[in-house]
Symmetry: C2
Amino acid sequence: MNDEQLKRWMEKRKQRKEALTKDNLMEGILAGNLTALSSAITLLESNLPQDKVTAKELVSACLPHAGNSIRVGITGVPGVGKSTFIESFGMHLLQENKKVAVLAIDPSSEKSGGSILGDKTRMQELSQQSNVFIRPSAAGDSLGGVARKTREAIFLCEAAGFEIILIETVGVGQSETVVHSMVDFFLLLMLAGAGDELQGIKRGIMEMADALVITKADGDNIKKANLARREYQNAMHLFPPNKNEWIPKALTASSLTNTNIDKVWQTILSFQNQTKINGWFKQKRQSQDKYWMNESLKELLMADFFLNSAVKDRLKAEEAAVLKGEKSSFQSADDLFEFYKQNR
Amino acid sequence: MNDEQLKRWMEKRKQRKEALTKDNLMEGILAGNLTALSSAITLLESNLPQDKVTAKELVSACLPHAGNSIRVGITGVPGVGKSTFIESFGMHLLQENKKVAVLAIDPSSEKSGGSILGDKTRMQELSQQSNVFIRPSAAGDSLGGVARKTREAIFLCEAAGFEIILIETVGVGQSETVVHSMVDFFLLLMLAGAGDELQGIKRGIMEMADALVITKADGDNIKKANLARREYQNAMHLFPPNKNEWIPKALTASSLTNTNIDKVWQTILSFQNQTKINGWFKQKRQSQDKYWMNESLKELLMADFFLNSAVKDRLKAEEAAVLKGEKSSFQSADDLFEFYKQNR
């Protein structure tokens, strides 16, 4: 690099840095600028100390402008047609003049923050529209970290004026529980099958669903889909009633023929309407706020303990004593905790 | 009280205290003395500092003699016939020349450690036999505390030579999960009904069961019970397979006519046999040891934080800021944790 090149490069770098100040980004976000929103979310995902400070200021500044959306979690096993459903559903929402953001959560993902391509090619039509913001999975090494990034990204999208936030999760592992605890409405996509459709989905997920959509209800599959819908509707009656008085719905839909996509939206709207009237909507968001504060505290407390180097050595010895039957689990915990208090 | 009475009382009190030394109790327990075992468990449940020290020493001394039993958790909704089942089942085990201990866990219970009467009158025949030890619910204000007392009581019973430990739980709340994580075999009692039997039991419990017994399979009820058994056996095939390679069994039984009580025992024996051969029996106990060590550490860490009086005040303010949308849950947690580190 010669002097001239270096000078240009330094100039560029300075401009880029300036563009990433809190105030610049904030102004962009409130104006609904997608580049600003995107850069802000990249800051959330950064591990650089300086970026963390800016991200923190940005989230605080956005919070008063956040909250005015409906947050919808969408899950289902691989192969259920999540991407095509989100594409059809998103296009429908655009026709209703809504601004739609699509976020994804996948704690097992090793994708970096930059690999937007995967999601954009998956939702080709949707990604080319205005009033749409698509962002791939937040990367992260812990579920708590991914949750934090996703939840704060929701706030930024809301501050940018997005009215519907779709949060997609892969239908395996713990991510459903995480998404469920940050959305207003939880949608489970299911395939019509012959009984063994229950195999792929983790137990407990069905109970979380506010609505269940049997996908690919088109052509030869319609009959089977309707049958599955009735079976699930019956099964859901066996569950204990929801505190929010909402009775989970079972629907069929086709992303191919665009059948019933509007019904899914109507269902979400009537849920929103009902829970806003009975106060549950706000109550749930507040309990989610408290939940994440608590979870985050737990994670910090545990990390302070388990990452303490003196504790690490002692922990191994105590664990060995417990496994050999020399000490009870509780006694070891008591002793370890006392040791930690002396050495923290 | 006159001087003479006072002297006698002091004398008695001294004798009783002496009888409760670690060495005396230990000797009694290893000899299988039920009074010593009972006094030792009372010590476990005591909150007096001196008793805690003795209990701690006692548990440590008993541990090398513990472990030689099969620990069976028994749960089911009220009305399913748990007491009568345990009575029949216990009597059967005595006929097989086994020593049987029955413990109960009920975190919601307000019973004190002394109210043995309730359980003894429930299991009238069993409680009059030798080779049987029946102990009611451990009292406690936290699930963790009750778990600790119960788990340490198991060790004491084992040291006293009891070969089968039955741990009964009330079929509501979180106690099933607690019991599941301290037993080798988990038995779920169920009533035959018309579909709505699922209503009473918490979701997820069925998946934990190593065997499911439809109770009251006698007289007019036999047909219904057999039908329910088949339904549950089918339903259990939908569950993901167990890591221990055991396929959960569904049985019918009657405590009234003593039908199939022997089959339940045979099922437990073949489970024990299979999991001892494939190594899962030991592996599960070790993971339970680790689990309780971790749970106990978490509880201690959380208590140290939440009971810190400076933190308490700050927590209220932070929670209010989060609920008003002034601060994100994660930011509040970060700030609270920093504050705690300065003030602990």
